[in-house]
Symmetry: C2
């Protein structure tokens, strides 16, 4: 009956490491997420080796980030998202083009042929919405216009990154590229987002009574959690990240009358599950591949390219918010996090990347994820000084 005791130990270690890491960095006035990722670096295979990669931990991490984006969706109003549509679109598009161009130039300059360079560049493209969403939520900044632009842009970014990855994978493996196929993939993804956002929201607005119908007293929550899991899965069927579907599920669930209760009830779920996502992100780094001056120099260079390219793309796209707002948006788009890791893994599996390039891209993704939160926190806090009620939700929404 000691069935599963190894995994219980891993759960315990990951969870406790996250709490300790978050507490330490919060005492240093940094966002807690930085401490959770750092905790993952420390307990992961590269340093202490207390936690080894395991499918079950990856699933918990996935559930964690899905719930996180769901709760971010819950705190976001659909109508307000629509209002920032044009800025979000511009940020999404420029935030894909500029990193892709700079990334492929760097890759070609460091010796890859053009087909492989484009593949490498794809790892520079996709923003990890999880990191930024967590910081915005932690600082109680989800109601700001900049936050809405960032979240909307993250959806567009994910659609474009998915298309781009399809294109570069095909080019790299020598397949012929059919524009008609690409157009269908694009139309399906955009259609999915629009149908959920428009029809789904309308359905949810009228379903408040129906959510209370089941005997289970927690049924509004269980029904929207089912919706969250269902849309998370559905979005992967359209080539999008699971978190996009989860975000949409939260967005339309926030149209119901039970919105506040749902927000409230989601907090304990986040407390239990999201640490797995951030800690497991941190465990992926491989210090051994980076332990020489040459690799560190390359890392510094590609991290600089990754940061500057997204920052410029986001800044230019969001200029309508004023230069400070545009800066916040630009910084918010910087983290690559797990998305860069996924592209790097695909590249490694396809034989496009060497283990060293893989380690470089993973490290770049983590570095952007670690650098963004403190900068974003400084920008948001200094801006909050001029706003009304600036610190009300400073440490996240209270529960009870």
């Amino acid at each position: 009956m000691s069935h599963g005791s190894d995994i219980l130990l891993s759960l315990f270690i990951v969870f406790v490491a996250a709490q300790i890491g978050a507490e330490i960095v919060q005492r240093l006035k940094l966002p807690g997420v930085v401490g959770e990722i750092a905790a993952g670096c420390v307990i992961g295979p590269s340093l202490l080796g207390w936690v080894q990669p395991a499918e079950a931990l990856d699933v918990l991490a996935e559930i964690g980030v899905v719930l996180l984006l769901f709760s971010v969706g819950l705190e976001t109003r659909l109508g307000e998202m629509r209002r920032v549509g044009p800025s979000a679109f511009l940020v999404g598009v420029l935030g894909v083009i500029i990193p892709f161009v700079l990334g492929s130039l760097w890759a070609h300059g460091s010796g890859f042929d053009w087909a492989k360079s484009l593949f490498v560049a794809a790892a520079f493209v996709a923003t990890s919405a999880g990191i930024t969403a967590r910081v915005l939520q932690e600082l109680g900044a989800l109601q700001r216009q900049e936050s809405r632009v960032i979240l909307g842009a993250a959806v567009i970014d994910d659609i474009l990154a998915m298309l781009l990855l399809g294109v570069v994978t095909a080019m790299q493996s020598g397949e012929t590229l059919r524009m008609s196929h690409l157009a269908i993939v694009l139309a399906e993804a955009v259609g999915f987002v629009l149908v959920i956002g428009l029809v789904g929201a309308r359905v949810m607005r009228r379903s408040s009574a129906w959510l209370e119908a089941p005997i289970n007293p927690l049924s509004p929550l269980t029904i929207v959690l089912a919706l969250c899991l269902g849309l998370a899965f559905a979005s992967t069927q359209f080539g999008l990240a699971a978190i996009i579907g989860a975000f949409l599920a939260g967005l339309i669930a926030s149209e119901t009358d039970q919105r506040d209760t749902l927000e409230h009830q989601t907090q304990p779920l986040l407390a239990l599950m999201t640490p797995f996502f951030f800690v497991m992100t941190g465990t992926r780094i491989e210090f051994s591949q980076l332990a020489n001056a040459d690799a560190l120099l390359s890392l510094a260079l590609i991290t600089a390219i990754a940061i500057v390219s997204k920052l410029v793309g986001g800044f230019l796209g969001a200029l309508s918010l004023g230069s400070r707002g545009a800066l916040i948006v630009g910084v918010g788009m910087i983290p690559r996090g797990e998305v860069g890791v996924v592209v790097a893994s695909l590249g490694l599996a396809a034989g496009v990347f060497s283990p060293r390039t893989y380690a470089l891209i993973v490290a770049m993704s983590l570095l952007t994820a670690m650098i963004t939160p403190p900068v974003l926190a400084i920008l948001l806090r200094s801006k909050a000084k001029n706003a009304a009620d600036p610190t009300a939700r400073h440490n996240g929404p209270p529960v009870d």
Copy 2:
């Protein structure tokens, strides 16, 4: 980026099946847990095959039952547990001896040699606290004396079952049995429970301020969740089930000032995670092995033995509660659930059981798990008519 989409689909199916199953049976005035197990039978490999066994699902199930017993512990007062100590001890001991004796007689009668018969009998012994705890919680009956006796007896039952399994495994494989070794194992397990129950409770009673110290506004919850995972792991190191440690964690966490908040915050966690436990329990049944009259007859017989033996053991042990209270305790001890499945799996792996015996024992475990909740509900509801405020928490505690 469609990483992990298969598992997302499984999560969605399991979660939705649980909600539908629970809703249907609750409309038929049965406890929801019956519907969740039945849903597992339907979507499992034996019927629809929509969900296949997967390590990640088992881990979620384990987390689900760990959280369930943690929350049951939270709703239980340690002082009141102590008061029912003697009855619980008697129920635990008789509830192990009688099923073990009857089980080994049946096994020997159906052709096993004595060493193997004792192993088979071990599958009749261990009560699955998860099923009964869920029913008691669902009916708001955790504050009753009978519930406390059942929970206390489940702890004793688990210690004795663990010892017994050690003994029969050794006998079956022909190892020599060292009484000194057994005495140490027993002393360690009892010591673990006593140290946590006494020292842990004292520490927790004084730690309310300390639980609020971290910056994380949910820190009382995250700290006790860490405690829950830690003690769940620790109890497996003493040969006990993870749920025993989780129950103890809840029990001592209920000594803190934050008890009510913690109970409240645990509800959404149960809503998300416990369905995985009950649905996955249901998926383990193998109908194909039971599809003949002979097998069904054997199943009826061993299920009857399993039910009567535990019922009598529990009833005799709890006679001090009066005959009706003793009946409730006896019924509450009946479910074997996942514990019978674990013993059956060990037997299959060790070559002691044929696939047919394995299927029989799994089916018996599930049948006892399905039969108990309705009977327990009838007994508790009819008893509630004579008590004050009988239906206040009929559908579980409200959240918000």
